[in-house]
Symmetry: C2
Subunit: 215 residues, 2 copies
């Protein structure tokens, strides 16, 4: 069975997955990298950067689910680039020549362009479709494996509201951003459809998992 999953979306205590004022120089706006410092400390991150060391506990364990069993990613236009990226014909995402996806990646955007093949197995596809339809395309490309909904918060909220997510991992970071894009807005009663577990880490982060009830 091919699931639809969200992995390692980091949010502040007040629920913001990205800050205010996103730009090419500040992909997460005024949040900077503060939502992701817990990741940089792990072995998983160090390996990805080709460096030794890093922590091997709860944080690392959750991060290792990022690629496991994933056959495709579906992301929102706001994750692929800063506001206005579609006006730059050379924009190929934030991640350099070898993006960390290594699967087909579908970008939901009104600004379609031909697919871009990157190093390491990542191909960017640009589609203009409603959530359920886009998910079908990603599912087909995933070849029986799971589809990761990669964010940002707006697309995750849309997929949650449409009850299209089977499993979600959120990392709550103990900071208060005060402003930005909320992951929770408009999702009253979401707990009725999911089994929710919380696991706090010595790093200060709390991992929250949502598993669709009865799955």
């Amino acid at each position: 069975m091919s699931l639809t999953r969200v992995q390692q979306i980091s949010i502040s205590l007040d629920g913001f997955a990205t800050g205010d004022g996103q730009s090419r120089d500040a992909p997460f706006g005024h949040a900077g990298e503060r939502l992701h410092e817990w990741m940089f400390a792990t072995r998983w991150w160090h390996e990805r950067e080709g460096e030794p060391g890093g922590t091997g506990g709860i944080d690392d364990t959750f991060l290792r689910q990022f690629a496991t069993g994933i056959g495709a990613e579906l992301m929102g236009a706001g994750k692929f680039g800063p506001p206005g990226w579609h006006e730059d014909p050379d924009w190929k995402g934030w991640w350099g020549a070898n993006p960390p996806f290594h699967t087909p990646v579908f970008i939901l955007t009104h600004h379609r362009r031909p697919p871009i093949e990157m190093d390491g197995g990542t191909t960017f596809h640009f589609i203009d479709a409603p959530p359920a339809k886009a998910l079908e395309a990603a599912r087909e490309a995933a070849g029986g494996q799971d589809v990761r909904i990669g964010g940002g918060p707006t697309i995750i909220r849309e997929f949650l509201a449409a009850r299209l997510i089977d499993h979600m991992h959120i990392a709550v970071v103990p900071i208060l951003l005060g402003r930005g894009v909320s992951i929770w807005q408009g999702l009253e009663g979401l707990e009725n459809d999911y089994d929710i577990e919380a696991t706090s880490s010595p790093s200060g982060v709390t991992h929250i998992t949502f598993t669709r009830a009865g799955l």
Copy 2:
């Protein structure tokens, strides 16, 4: 040293400490008692109700700090009664003849009335003063012990914004209320003044403590 503390304020994942539509029949609005069910399961709560049984783990341990070392409580008008309580001369709070405070309790309100002495050591005082001034009055009544800021969320936010809180215990309950009164609004950067720890419980609740840095 007499500290200013917040104990066991329960909030939803999306940060609401009380729901929408508070009334005499629904003190927490559409949230009902869903924010407090974790408390009802503990030994601490059972003892308070004169019943045997209850859990004795992390949740219970945090709850036992409620009265420990507290000499007075300061609460907002919205905690003392439903909207319009000041128009009822017989209103003496939600808690019956023997309220669970057992200390002087200061109610911040524009509608002053004479003190009300209740059973069990609780006396309600009604004061109309800015936060720091009200805190002075409660501190004096606390006789060297700590002052608890009892809520609701609006007064806690005010005291946090004024950096008047030394220690705070928040319990995050895994539900999404969607609407209500937020505990976090307008507190960007609060983490700079506090050491923050998170401890998840088997009940699903995550306890978050804020301790003023350097305390």
